[in-house]
């Protein structure tokens, strides 16, 4: 291993460690000041998952676990209440959707207006592929002939220089 690759390796490993620790810390530092008590481990997991998947309706792009807006506080309290009452994941999502619309859930439903989110990327890929295929330069006999001529000419020049 030469010096350059060794240095690169060290820099990369430091970067990787920093990234990983950053990820771990950002998860711990979520804005959940409230101390909710859960009777079962499943409820605690459901609460954590739900507050990550529900979007704060006041904020532009934050889930209710991260947001400190009052509406997010209230929604967390409601999620806690619903989970403690024995509602499962889908029931809580439905409850929130009935009040705040599809916007509140980070997984958009597939319907007439949102289907484009799935169609568009694939169609771009297909069209791009088609264009690439169409524009591939065709090798005609005259091309190969011209190439052969050029090669012959080059050989001739090399021969001359000797």
């Amino acid at each position: 291993m030469n010096l350059l690759t060794q240095r690169l390796f060290i820099i990369l490993s430091i970067w990787a460690v920093l990234m990983l620790s950053g990820l771990m810390f950002s998860h711990d530092a979520q804005a959940t000041q409230e101390n909710y008590q859960f009777t079962t481990e499943q409820q605690r997991k459901d609460f954590k998952r739900l507050t990550k998947e529900l979007r704060c309706p006041m904020c532009q792009n934050q889930n209710i676990a991260d947001s400190d807006a009052m509406i997010a506080h209230d929604m967390r309290r409601k999620v806690y209440q619903l989970v403690s009452e024995g509602n499962d994941h889908d029931q809580v999502i439905d409850f929130m959707k009935q009040r705040y619309g599809d916007f509140v859930y980070y997984q958009p439903p597939v319907n007439n207006s949102t289907i484009w989110l799935w169609i568009l990327p694939f169609s771009v890929l297909l069209i791009g592929g088609w264009i690439l295929f169409k524009r591939r330069p065709e090798i005609t006999p005259s091309d190969t002939q011209a190439e052969a001529d050029l090669l012959a000419k080059a050989d001739e020049m090399l021969e001359k220089d000797k």
Partner: protein, 197 residues
């Protein structure tokens, strides 16, 4: 014959520019209310000033009402209060759905007496359009209505159905364009019913 190699990217580019240009003028906060055309969610909440008085959905039967969601901590609410008072003087029935920001229902830092005091001070200063204020203690009813902040105003018809859900303040422009047409229609119906009875 125009070269398609030139036209197709140009059309695609123009379409993209048009799409993005429109985005400049769209309001990312605007979203459809889920409460519209639905009955007022059932509630049972105390009066803000007289907590022994409990209000239920009955307060909305047989009368066209504007339910204003507000709080003294909300700056925009203070801006609209004088205009709402003006409207109430013209005979519009206003009911307040009051909620307090600093009064955490579980770890309250503010006393109810303090909240009442602040409300009295504010309404004395800026005008009081409200017949009474329903105190949404746990902010449950606000959540059921899909309220995201204050002020928000609902127009509720005689049957207790929500007909308009407005987010933000009410000013003459909003009143004329969003509320007045439906309000006037409902009031005409109401007076017709009253003469029939």
């Amino acid at each position: 014959m125009i070269n398609t190699r030139f036209v197709v990217p140009l059309v695609a580019f123009t379409a993209l520019v048009f799409f993005l240009y429109q985005g400049l003028f769209s309001d990312p906060r605007q979203r459809d209310s889920q409460a519209l055309a639905k009955p007022m969610p059932t509630f049972s909440l105390p009066d803000l000033m007289e907590p022994s008085v409990i209000y239920t959905n009955d307060v909305f039967t047989d009368e066209v009402t504007l339910l204003n969601i507000w709080g003294v901590w909300c700056v925009t609410c203070a801006v609209e209060l004088p205009y709402l008072t003006e409207l109430s003087e013209q005979g519009v029935r206003f009911v307040g759905l009051y909620y307090d920001q600093d009064l955490d229902p579980d770890f309250g830092t503010k006393t109810l007496a303090r909240v009442q005091q602040e409300v009295i001070e504010t309404t004395n200063q800026l005008g009081n359009p409200f017949l009474f204020n329903i105190f949404d203690v746990y902010r449950d009813t606000s959540l059921d209505l899909g309220v995201t902040g204050a002020p928000e105003t609902l127009l509720i018809d005689q049957q207790g159905i929500i007909r308009v859900h407005h987010i933000g303040d009410i000013n003459p422009r909003v009143w004329d364009s969003k509320f007045a047409p439906i309000y006037n229609e409902l009031m005409a119906q109401q007076s017709l019913q009253q003469t029939e009875n």
